[in-house]
């Protein structure tokens, strides 16, 4: 019983890690249009902005 529980837990963990796959089915000759919403990470942008502004300030201070 313990062994089977362990196996089930491993299987669930593998499932979570692997994720899921999406399969598109349709006419292979029809062009596929993908509408993607780009999610922008504001934290990353602010870091980039800070780096650029720091570089401008340091260059301007010389």
């Amino acid at each position: 019983m313990k062994k089977s529980k362990k196996m089930i837990n491993v299987f669930i963990a593998l499932l979570l890690v692997t994720g899921c796959t999406v399969k598109a089915v349709g006419d292979p000759n029809r062009p596929i249009t993908i509408n993607a919403n780009v999610v922008v990470d504001i934290r990353g942008l602010k870091q980039t902005a800070t780096n650029i502004e720091d570089m401008v300030a340091q260059g301007g201070a010389k």
Partner: protein
């Protein structure tokens, strides 16, 4: 004679057990929570146009700071500077500064493929950074559009 395989979990020294548990916990946390790294947005290609814009901004930096301190120019909530008192020098400095900032913002949006809303997000990020970096006495525009003089 006792073999290693005969040693039960509870007979393993406490420290060893603890370090084993910590390793398992750490592994579980890594798998459960994605790494919290901010996305890396940067200039993928440093074009002559970007280079010139940065150099222009560096050369203008001291002048711009003096005009900000004098209350003639303020940082708006779109990531650009605004004339506050129609001073001729401030007008030309602000115009040049905004041109160079626009070059930098467009380059970031294009090179990082930030999509149709990318320019708005870049501007917002730079505006927030400028607000944070503003010195006391300088004018900044809040997200709601109000102009305030930074106190500290």
């Amino acid at each position: 004679m006792k073999r290693d395989s005969d040693v039960k979990w509870m007979e393993v020294p406490a420290m060893k057990r603890m370090s084993g548990l910590m390793s398992l916990f750490f592994l579980a946390m890594l798998m459960a929570f994605p790494p919290c790294f901010a996305a890396q947005y940067d200039f993928k290609k440093m074009t002559p146009e970007i280079n010139q814009a940065l150099k222009n901004r560096q050369a203008r930096y001291g002048n711009l700071q003096r005009l900000k301190q004098a209350g003639l120019i303020g940082e708006n909530n779109q990531g650009y500077v605004t004339n506050l008192k129609s001073d001729p020098l401030a007008v030309s400095v602000a115009s040049a500064e905004n041109t160079d900032r626009g070059v930098i913002y467009r380059a970031l949006v294009q090179q990082n493929t930030l999509g149709p809303n990318g320019m708005r997000e870049v501007q917002r990020a730079f505006a927030e950074v400028q607000n944070e970096k503003a010195s006391a006495g300088e004018f900044i525009q809040t997200a709601s559009g109000d102009w305030i003089q930074k106190s500290s």
